[in-house]
Symmetry: C2
Subunit: 356 residues, 2 copies
DNA sequence: GGTTCAAAATGAAACGTTTCCATGATACTA
DNA sequence: TAGTATCATGGAAACGTTTCATTTTGAACC
């Protein structure tokens, strides 16, 4: 491997000073057309590319964006990264990715690492909004940062998904169908999505002058294993729910398994709505009604917001942006009127057989 | 934000030279216990951390690993990154991620970018093994590189998945059930997995002295849209297949949709086997038999292999590693004996109704 | 033709490390 | 005791840029 040419080589070959080459490179004004032409020719001829590390050393800017996620397993992160990464790339930035593994300690380490490595900007989702340590760490961040679906009292740009609206839509839909015992797998209250989901749920009840059954609101975490456990418990209750709203994005398999094992049919015996769309929701039998959330849109918006901040010459912060992305209820086949109270099981089972 | 202390500040505070501090930092031998103690104390007191960019500038090593994938949408990439990233992190490396978007041009740009940014190592999957440009670009790579599930005639470490074995297992299973018209959605022949899948398919036929129907082998790409189209075409054939093996990892929804629209039942009318496991495969009704592939294992192995190479003091290449990860057939409910030839449709439809 | 002024170009410093070379000190050998 | 390894340390160069202060150039003006 031949040694790469440096700016010095270019300067020499074009018989100008390194300063002049640098000015050509960075499009500065005062360089004569004649010299500019010559320098550019030599650059092309040598295939010269400036050394990014040396540039970083001098300018203290790395053209790198750090992205911290709780867990890449979440389908949302895939949609997010997939749409954010090309936008950043196009602007000359590179995405450095790290997994927080749902651990505060781990996330702290990663934040420290991002700052030490002089990331130019950060895209962050945290596992716990309540951790004072994390809050302090974020507060010390001195580069543009976009907070993703998290609520911390910091003056940073934020992109939120309207979990509350989606949840209300779903709840209202079930109430309209006649359900009165709706369970909610809300997830972990230490992050905004779970709290908003619960708020939307309660709001929909309240709008009809109804009150949800507290024991049907389950707050645990977003894992598939807890979903399975929670659903099993719910179905074993004295008076079980006639519908379940799944708050998280990856809990659906656990819920389906629990329902299968209880030998219940969807939607005859129980209705369900999932908290995000997925292959499984679309192609399960019956297909699952979902609250669709635009994670790809979140990636796009976050990337654009970040680039905007990075482009600001004035470091005097303009007011932080706060963007909320709408959600949508995709009605499929997993919801029906609740089983009638009298002659419950038999009636609905017969109906199901007729159905196909 | 206070200015960070530099090695010079430490040297001054500990009344030693910067050289000595550097030696302490890098664990060199010849520094007196007394000085080492003092320097370490000052470092702790100041909370000093060496500046990674300056280190890179001097050592020409960035502690960054570039990872190029065709498309993060592939579930395999998620499993892969999720398991590789923590291993690299633990060793002090950082994962820089880029999406090739299934475009040769784009992948070339990214490779160039990785090299320019002086990645210490590369984890690569390409969209086309046949592209001379890509081959040339890879050949010019002068850092350790692991090739993932791709076959190029280069002396780099490689991690392969045993697509051939898995495909043979699946094919044999269907042949054993009595199927003789098995379709294969092989995917795009420009990458190894597709070719190996087809080879395993043919091998299983050959092992029984049988010959597959060529018109049932479909070679297109791995997208869900093509899967839908191909399946629709297959089902519309004069004598359609009685079973389908899906070569790709994300084509299942397309196949299911086409089968639904043709009003065929799985497995009574048609058997299917998917090329990788997924939530959908596990929880679809009926659940789908799959060839399970260990993408997480691939991430682990690739990361370890890469770290091993990076740790080699001798740059004299030892023989390239070539690791093949086994596959496994997970039998679920999507396969049955083919419909009997006589009285075909009626017979099986009745059977299906009986079934539940 | 000399003076003035803006534009263009140069040369060197600086960014924060690592590493090499030289030097001094200490211990070991003959 | 002198000679010679060995070890510890300091000082400085080097990595490849950008930028700043300074000098050079050339045109315009009177």
């Amino acid at each position: 491997m031949i040694k790469k040419p440096t700016i010095r080589d270019i300067a020499h070959a074009a018989s100008v000073s390194v300063g002049t080459v640098s000015r050509v490179l960075n499009g500065h004004k005062s360089v004569s057309p004649e010299n500019r032409r010559r320098v550019e020719a030599v650059i092309r001829k040598f295939g010269y590319r400036p050394h990014p590390i040396a540039q970083s050393m001098r300018t203290d800017s790395t053209k790198m964006i750090g992205s911290l996620a709780r867990n890449l397993t979440f389908p949302m992160m895939v949609g997010f990264i997939n749409s954010a990464e090309p936008i950043l790339n196009k602007a000359g930035y590179v995405l450095v990715f790290a997994n927080g593994n749902d651990s505060v300690e781990h996330e702290l380490m990663i934040i420290e690492m991002f700052l030490r490595r002089r990331m130019d900007g950060l895209l962050m989702t945290l596992c716990d909004e309540g951790s004072p340590k994390l809050r302090k760490a974020l507060k010390a961040v001195n580069v543009p940062m976009i907070l993703l679906d998290r609520e911390l009292d910091l003056d940073t740009d934020t992109v939120w998904i309207d979990h509350r609206g989606g949840s209300a839509l779903a709840t209202d839909y079930l109430l309209e169908l006649g359900h009165r015992r709706i369970a909610l797998l809300a997830g972990s209250m230490v992050v905004r999505p779970a709290r908003e989901t619960e708020a939307g749920f309660r709001g929909a009840y309240a709008a009809r002058g109804l009150i949800p059954a507290e024991q049907l609101i389950v707050r645990s975490d977003f894992m598939v294993a807890s979903a399975y456990r929670s659903t099993t418990d719910l179905l074993a209750m004295e008076s079980p729910p006639s519908a379940i709203i799944i708050g998280g994005t990856m809990m659906l398999p656990g819920v389906l398994r629990a329902i299968n094992e209880a030998h219940l049919r969807i939607p005859e015996d129980i209705s369900i709505i999932n908290g995000c769309d997925s292959d499984l929701a679309e192609f399960a039998t019956p297909s699952i009604t979902v609250i669709r959330k635009d994670f790809a849109g979140m990636g796009t918006v976050a990337a654009q917001l970040l680039l905007e901040r990075l482009g600001e010459t004035q470091p005097k912060k303009s007011k932080p942006h706060r963007i909320i992305l709408p959600t949508e209820l995709i009605v499929r086949q997993s919801c029906a009127a609740p089983p009638t109270v009298a002659g419950n099981k038999t009636a609905t089972r017969r109906a199901a057989v007729r159905r196909r």
